[in-house]
Symmetry: C2
Subunit: 138 residues, 2 copies
Amino acid sequence: MDRVNEILRNIGKKCTEQRKLILQTLFELAKPVSADEVYEYLSETNKVGRTTVYRTLELFERKKLVRRIIFKDGIIRYESTHLKHHHHLICLSCGEVIPLEHCAIASLDGSVIEDADFLVTEHFLELYGYCKKCRGGK
Amino acid sequence: MDRVNEILRNIGKKCTEQRKLILQTLFELAKPVSADEVYEYLSETNKVGRTTVYRTLELFERKKLVRRIIFKDGIIRYESTHLKHHHHLICLSCGEVIPLEHCAIASLDGSVIEDADFLVTEHFLELYGYCKKCRGGK
DNA sequence: TATCTAAATGAAATTTAGTTTCATTTAAAA
DNA sequence: TTTTAAATGAAACTAAATTTCATTTAGATA
């Protein structure tokens, strides 16, 4: 929790109970989660309102504490940036999300696509398919 | 329009006026468009209801006439599969969407990620950054 | 060609994700 | 401690997408 306090102090915003809880949750879950999942996760103790969760995740995105991740379903999810840049394997059968450490196209960012004269600053890559379990050994 | 008729006959579903109009629209626009954009595009003649547009795009996706494309905003868009597999450059400033012909990671599909024992069947890659115009020559 | 029927349509109601409003509360500066 | 701008959260709202169900229609069958 000390770490959470320090991070929040560094972004130049008020260090509220709600923000600490939300950031802590993102650390604990350590995978892409939607605002509603964060809200549900915290709702037992019921200390944080839905609106605050949405607003706080947006703030965290602006401050680069989280990155936005979008899967095929179009729901906006966020993942803590203390996990370094990576992509995901998403099972089309059971929905499991597996982080993929190595990024084969990291070199794209900062480069210019010649034909289009386009400067790439970020990229989204998600891989879909079937996990070991769902393939039943095949 | 002959082409549209033939395609619809081949998927084993009724060849309705609405389906023909929607497929024709996807051919004409030839870029990722949302259900609402298709609806608006057709609304002058007002021949197709909103529900039908949503349902038809889902049908087309199941029949592989269109593929689903998701950008950062989370809105579900579709693009005709008569355009072969490719990705997009999306300008963070003006929103322009530029198709990117070459796919550097096409070889991923059908391959197994060893560490995770995961069979990849499809992938989503979108590149964000700044187009020539918005960079003002830089 | 007329009849029939399962499939398709679309208006309206509903659901879900996300945003805005505004009165109240609070972190932290003075 | 007082003060105040920032933050919160309930409720209202918006937008995207889905469901319901009465009506229409494509195209198979007689």
